[in-house]
């Protein structure tokens, strides 16, 4: 490696460091902003979880009824189960959104960093 090359390498490293620092400063905010940019989207997401579970359960009950000829018992069993499943889905979705917003706990962060390091190291090996 000639002195010129080394100089260039140092410059690139300095530039990389500068970009990384700038990204650390601005990147996180931008990503988090994108994550909950649209309250309407969140509302829609939660709503589909509820509606779809009920609809799927009603259809499943209806289908089983017409297949086994047990009208209306399957429908009566499946509809409340579907409603409960819908509520469960909504709770899970809301919890997932909560985790995305406030989930930067100490343990999660360190686990994430460990993962990142593992990937980065692998990437370097690949190169």
């Amino acid at each position: 490696m000639s002195p010129h090359d080394r100089q260039e390498q140092d410059d690139l490293d300095a530039l990389g460091e500068k970009i990384r620092r700038s990204k650390d400063r601005h990147g996180r905010e931008r990503m988090d902003g994108a994550r909950h940019a649209s309250p309407l989207g969140v509302a829609f997401r939660i709503m589909t979880e509820l509606v779809v579970a009920v609809m799927a359960a009603v259809l499943a009950g209806w289908g089983l009824d017409s297949y086994f000829g047990t009208w209306p018992w399957m429908l009566l069993v499946f509809t409340p189960l579907g409603m409960a499943a819908g509520v469960l889905n909504v709770l899970r979705a809301a919890k997932a959104l909560d985790d995305a917003d406030f989930g930067q706990t100490a343990s999660g962060d360190s686990a994430r960093r460990k993962n990142n390091d593992a990937w980065t190291k692998d990437d370097e090996k690949d190169r």
Partner: protein, 255 residues
């Protein structure tokens, strides 16, 4: 009085310009094998165009040390998806990254191409989104059983619950599990279809109200188009994110 006449004209125009016409499927190349209709339709055509655009976008733009705009765009998307997969799945999720990335790129590009006038929105048909969601669902289920064997069924049985409660809770969990592909597909399809129908309806108002009153719906349309771009990107992201969440359940069995 002028507005009344305008409103009536707008109503007629909106009725004449059917806002749902854009979702019609046309056979471009009728193919029939036995009783199965395998025609090459406008939907198939736009799927091919989508794949072509994705390929063009990812292969072009160069690969320089200091990236240009095109290359930066590629790298930002790649890094966003890779960091999301890595954060949620960890090291074990690495084999699934190409799948998640391909899915994201396809949906994002299909959504964006759908905003081009006279184009066809592939993702506005529930059968297309459902096919994708079903693939994700089957993949996650197969991965779950391969990794954990029959232990994957523990996903349906919440821990620390009395067995009497489990009689009720297990069916609920199972239904909740099976609604995943449906909610995944309905969300994407409904967002795309609702947005495009709304744009078409407002476009009908612009024509109906003419030069005098047409400016208000036109301004609304500009705003809506901006919103649609956001929705197109967000829905692609949500689809990819939920895919990763379902894969996470299968790989790491969190709850």
């Amino acid at each position: 009085m002028a507005t009344e006449a305008g409103a009536r004209a707008a109503g007629e125009a909106a009725a004449a310009l059917n806002p749902l016409e854009q979702f019609e499927i046309h056979r471009l190349l009728p193919i029939r094998i036995g009783n199965i209709d395998l025609s090459f339709t406008n939907s198939s055509l736009w799927m091919f165009i989508t794949i072509g655009v994705v390929a063009l976008f990812l292969l072009g733009g160069g690969a320089r040390l200091v990236p240009g705009r095109w290359q930066s765009a590629k790298e930002i998307i790649y890094e966003m998806m890779s960091s999301m997969t890595r954060d949620m799945l960890g090291e074990k999720g690495r084999p699934f990254f190409p799948f998640v990335f391909a899915l994201f790129m396809f949906i994002l590009t299909a959504n964006m191409l759908g905003l081009v006038p006279y184009s066809f929105t592939v993702t506005s048909h529930i059968i297309v989104t459902f096919a994708m969601a079903l693939f994700v669902f089957v993949l996650a289920t197969v991965v779950g059983f391969v990794k954990h064997g029959l232990g994957y069924l523990k996903l349906f049985s919440p821990s620390g619950v009395h067995w009497v409660m489990k009689i009720i809770l297990v069916p609920i969990e199972i239904i909740s599990y099976f609604t995943r592909p449906i909610s995944l597909s309905v969300r994407l399809f409904a967002n795309m279809m609702a947005g495009h129908t709304m744009l078409k309806v407002f476009a009908g108002f612009v024509i109906g109200l003419g030069l005098i009153g047409g400016w208000a719906p036109l301004a609304m349309m500009v705003a809506l188009t901006g919103l649609e771009v956001l929705v197109a990107a967000l829905q692609a992201y949500v689809f990819a994110m939920l895919t990763v969440i379902y894969l996470n359940d299968a790989i790491n069995m969190d709850h």
